[in-house]
């Protein structure tokens, strides 16, 4: 298990221009010591339907074992939220994020780092932003520093420039929005990881095989996304399927789907395998899901998972 401190020691080499050793990164892809075990009576995935996204998100976390199963007192939490898009249904509902933030602070998180800055005016979209102003103020935002990391097990992506903040946190929480995507059809937890990379790295995802068009080589793009997820597996995933665009993604605006559901799980593959169905897709139809499953990042076979659905 790599710790924040041990990573920082290694990252010192990165700033000097050297790449991290392949050994250190293969460890990075393993579940954190704080991840709850996937066996036994613990649930793999929880889907909570409810009118209030804040309540639904907090209930989902409780049902998955409570925030204490993921965040310990004094932890630094890194929160990767899909929230740079200003159109409704293209970013996570801020109430879902506020619910996670409040839970992390309750658990005694020392610091919460927003790994990808939200769009301007994002918090004001929430009616709870006034009451939770101190929670929002306590957030730290992205440092803008990137580290070049090797991905030895990557198939198409052997190295990537990734936000350094990701490796400076003890707990990593991935909060995505379930939505349509013009290129890869569906955007969720796996795709959200691209938010950690600068434009130059993401351009390689799109143009790395030199085929014309932003989506000229979808197999390569999907493989790169799956490979990028090897860099660090989240301790906890949440997806907002309350209201989301079902066309014109990822930016919108477009027709909205409204399933009033928040989904929580312990790995991004199961999370996406479950959530892509809100868009009428099967996991096999979203290429990055089977590719990430082949990397051992989680199971896309929903029938083999312990899933609980409930309404609040």
């Amino acid at each position: 298990m790599i710790t924040r401190r041990s990573f920082l020691k290694k990252a010192a080499c990165v700033t000097g221009g050297a790449l991290l050793s392949s050994g250190s990164l293969s460890v990075l892809a393993q579940p954190s010591a704080q991840s709850p075990p996937a066996t036994g009576t613990r649930l793999d995935l929880v889907a909570v339907k409810g009118k209030d996204p804040f309540v639904a998100a907090q209930t989902a976390i409780e049902e998955l074992g409570g925030i204490e199963a993921f965040v310990k007192r004094g932890d630094r939490v890194g929160l990767l939220v899909n929230s740079p898009f200003k159109n409704v249904g293209a970013s996570v509902n801020p109430d879902v994020v506020l619910a996670v933030l409040e839970k992390c602070l309750e658990a005694g998180a020392k610091e919460i780092r927003y790994l990808k800055d939200p769009h301007r005016g994002y918090w004001e979209r929430s009616p709870k932003s006034g009451a939770l102003a101190t929670v929002i103020k306590s957030l730290k935002y992205e440092s803008g520093d990137h580290a070049k990391v090797e991905i030895p097990a990557g198939v198409a992506l052997k190295e990537a420039s990734v936000a350094k903040d990701l490796f400076e946190c003890d707990v990593f929480i991935n909060v995505s929005v379930t939505k349509h995507h013009d290129g890869v059809r569906y955007s969720g937890a796996l795709k959200n990881m691209m938010g950690l990379c600068p434009f130059s790295t993401n351009s390689f995802f799109h143009w790395g095989t030199l085929r014309l068009g932003w989506y000229g080589d979808l197999d390569h793009l999907n493989q790169c996304i799956a490979d990028l997820n090897l860099v660090r597996k989240p301790n906890l995933c949440l997806s907002d399927a309350t209201t989301f665009i079902t066309e014109n993604g990822p930016y919108g605006p477009g027709k909205l789907g409204a399933f009033e559901t928040v989904v929580a799980s312990i790995n991004p593959v199961s999370q996406d395998a479950f959530c892509c169905r809100f868009l009428g897709l099967q996991p096999e139809e979203v290429l990055m899901i089977p590719k990430a499953a082949r990397h051992g990042l989680g199971s896309m076979n929903l029938s083999r998972l312990k899933i609980k659905t409930l309404s609040v």
Binding site: R125, Y251, P253
Partner: protein, 182 residues
């Protein structure tokens, strides 16, 4: 290079091409910035002034992008615009005293035909036809219209009458300013 393990014969030219593409990206990236660069001043003039908007005021500085820098401004949403002949864009957000917000995106395309194609892609045959610009489609919470070489999108965060009226009012003001632009 499907496996990330290029064969020796093709790796050098591909690497060189990739370096060229990277330079291309970087050179265009510098064009994505806060408003104020000379090339986009003309586009900024299409934004309705607050004096014409009554209850709506600008929320922060408008942002602009030229060419490939659109990818930095609207991410993967840029693909279709670039494919259809994108030139430059300005995006701005307006808010009122109740805290409601309206997003305004103006895309200057290479020609009226380019604008027509992107309008078809964004609006399809859906929505309610409304008299704004050359062609317009109003949906539950957003409006798409085209006027000459411009494709314009306005979107709110709810379907309330006040928001939709604001969207339509703003859309008409933008269409008038396109008419009046040189």
């Amino acid at each position: 290079m499907p496996s990330g393990q290029p064969d020796a014969k093709r790796s050098i030219p591909r690497a060189a091409l990739w370096v060229l593409i990277s330079c291309f990206i970087v050179s265009f990236s510098v064009h994505c910035s806060q408003a104020g660069e000379p090339a986009t001043q003309e586009l900024l003039r299409l934004l309705p002034p607050e004096s014409d908007l009554k209850t709506w005021t600008l929320d922060g500085e408008p942002q602009t992008a030229e060419g490939m820098a659109l990818f930095e401004l609207i991410n993967g949403g840029a693909e279709e615009y670039v494919k259809q002949g994108f030139r430059r864009a300005v995006t701005a957000t307006y808010k009122n005293k109740e805290g409601k917000r309206i997003n305004l995106d103006i895309y200057e395309m290479r020609s009226s035909e380019s604008a027509k194609r992107i309008f078809r892609k964004k609006a399809g045959d859906k929505g309610t036809k409304v008299p704004v610009g050359d062609e317009a489609a109003l949906e539950d919470y957003y409006l798409n219209f085209r006027k000459g070489p411009y494709q314009v999108t306005l979107s709110g965060y709810d379907t309330q009458k006040e928001t939709l009226e604001g969207i339509l009012h703003m859309g008409r003001l933008v269409a008038e300013r396109i008419d009046a632009s040189p």
